[in-house]
């Protein structure tokens, strides 16, 4: 099972949109795909019209009293299931901290899912926490959305530095520009400076498009809402690059 995670220390950069669309694309290719919405805000859960509730809450889940397998919900799409968010996930750090090696716990929890799924996508909450450390350990590929701005690049450097110093196994990093507004000079210049120059930054560029914002009210992936839009093409390209990275 390949484990990918969408992650950034910053919030509101397109993590959930990416996780939802890539999960859909993975499933459409025939991969048995599971999306775990780890963010207590439950945006991915909302987009798939699933109730943000996990039986027994985060404590039972982290302790293994409720196996992950029993909490999974089917989405409206073939091959695509979701492990929903729950408000109690806000206390996930505390629950993980009860373990001797808290940063290994998420990897331990997801391991048994390998027999039922080809791809697992973790949609992480923003920030640096035990949850994000656990995700870094569980994932083989980290997808990092970047808004084209100087500060974003600085944060990305901090992240690559942090991952580089982490113990093995370390995930491969694939960053990509997200919410790119071609009308803004800063966006154009930042993207032009970086894309194609670094192997850890994808060629795919996800545009800031109203159709991406429509995911919320319409509660559907962009790829379904508008199959021929530039945003869909960008997510398809990004998925292709993520798959290729895994095969390297």
């Amino acid at each position: 099972m390949r484990v990918l995670a969408t992650y950034n220390i910053k919030g509101g950069v397109g993590k959930t949109s990416t996780a939802v669309n890539l999960a859909y694309l993975s499933a459409r290719q025939g991969n048995r795909t599971l999306l775990w919405d780890l963010d207590p805000q439950g945006a991915a859960t909302f987009l798939f019209r699933i109730g943000p509730h996990v039986r027994g809450g985060v404590k039972a889940l982290v302790k293994g009293r409720t196996p992950l397998d029993a909490l999974i919900k089917g989405t409206d799409f073939n091959n695509l299931d979701l492990l929903p968010a729950d408000l109690s996930y806000r206390r996930m750090d505390h629950a993980l901290d009860q373990f001797k090696h808290p940063n290994r716990r998420i990897a331990q929890l997801v391991k048994p899912l390998g027999s039922g799924y080809d791809v697992l996508i973790l949609d992480c909450p923003p920030g640096m926490s035990l949850v994000s450390e656990g995700v870094l350990r569980a994932a083989d590929t980290l997808l990092v959305p970047l808004v084209p701005a100087t500060l974003s690049m600085r944060t990305f450097e901090q992240l690559t530095d942090f991952v580089g110093k982490a113990k093995q196994p370390r995930p491969r990093i694939l960053a990509f520009f997200s919410m790119v507004d071609a009308r803004k000079r800063l966006h154009r210049e930042t993207v032009a400076q970086v894309v194609g120059q670094r192997s850890d930054i994808a060629q795919a560029i996800v545009p800031a498009a109203s159709i991406v914002e429509q995911m919320g009210p319409r509660r559907l992936p962009v790829v379904v809402l508008s199959p021929t839009s530039p945003a869909t093409a960008a997510y398809e390209q990004l998925w292709g690059e993520a798959v290729a990275l895994g095969e390297r």
Binding site: Q29, G30, R32, R49, I50, I72, N78, N79, D81
Partner: protein, 533 residues
Amino acid sequence: MADAEISDAWLIDALGGEGRIKRELQQTVHREWFDTFDWRLHRAGLTLELATVTGGARAELLLRRTSGEVLQVVPAGPRGTDGRGAGKTLVLAGNASLASVHARLAPVVQMRALLALVGVRVTVRTFSVLDANAKTVARIVVEEPARDTDNTSSAPMSRVTAMTVRGYEGEARKLARRLSMLPALRPSCEGWLDAALAQAGRRAGDYTGQLDLTLSSTQSAVTAVQTILLRLLDVAERNMPGITADLDTEFLHDLRVAVRRARTALKLLGDLLPADQIEQLPLDLTWMSDLTTPTRDLDAHRLIADKAEARGGPAEELRPFHAFLLARRQQARQELVRGLRSARWSRARQRWRYLSTSQHPASAGLSSAGSEQTVEDVARPRIARAYRRARRLGEAITADSPATDLHALRKRCKELRYLMEFFASVLEARSYRAVLSQLKSLQDCLGEFQDTYVQVRAVATFADEMLTEGAGSAATLMALGRTVDALELRQAQARQEFGARFKRFANKSTRAQVAVLTKDRAQSSPDQLRGWR
């Protein structure tokens, strides 16, 4: 199931109205099911279905449990261009989009081909059952026979199915209950595959290479031998088309085993049948065995290259060897197919059938006292004798014994195994399992020894021939040299293990189990009878 056509409006009204039931799509689909000849998917509780939307524009491969639950859906591309090999087989290997299904099924299917079983053309209408958030919590699938141009339908009946969405199982149960209460519908557990198979005069699991015979200990020994022979003839004949079409290697394997078992039956039980009727058949069966050996051996040799590749070994260097073997196999197979189509084999099967079905004269199968022998009279003493023969032969084997001695023991072990399998239904189950376990362990060791022994010599011969024909580079010959080294190592390991395995086969404990197995049932104590089938 329904006998009349079901309208959308009727179904939506009956199940809660527009807000709750949403019609998704309607399409005409050609469904074709695949399984191995010996039903490996079915035995694993799975079905594999290629669903092609009319026009061939889109096809999906659906892996389901036999209960109908969908486990995986993979886009398979337009029919005939993606995933389908030549003829009526489905090829998963080497196809990137089917890789995950291949990985999942490979341990079940192994070396067997996935063959098309049956197909139906159906019109499918899908409806979603929605909750308050407009989330699909269950699905209703209405399938009806598609109308052909001549207004005849190609599928057997109409069905309405409640489909589960993971995590919402209760909703599907509620839906199924509601559907079952609708007067126009009647409940059924039979799926499309079962119905389509029934229409084609078949049923799931209708072939196995195993004997699976139910004999009675009081039954006449003659009719029991006839039942065994008839079953073996059926297995042999059912595998012939697969060999001729070269669908996979196991058709030949099953035919060879059936022929070998029949030879054993004639050798060890043939005295029960009229002597004049079994003069020619053993000779024909030996001829057929010999005819099949080169192809089977070449299949086994090809596995050497395949295994090397699977282990990440010298696949590139062994490629010319692979090509050389394929050319040799082609020649051997042509000979084999000619033999299978020959008048001699046809006559041999006629003799085989006649021997298995005709009424034999009253003198056949009589004991020295003149009474008719039963299975009870025959099975146990002959198994005991076959065990003693194998044990004596094994005890004479020393560290210096030639490979031919081990091969001779292997043949005796096979005879014992077949004899036990013929009469499995009348033998005490626990002892049967215990003896069989030791016998299998010994057979595995002897098989490994003999196979590697043959392969070492064959590879050396082929290497010589390749050199003469200029068919292989120095790298290929060196890779073959390494292969021979590896085979010799395996052979030496098998030889080393033989002593311990034979010891377990011949020790006091196994002898005691054989004694229970072969003891006259009438003289057995109640304790010994407890585990009787």
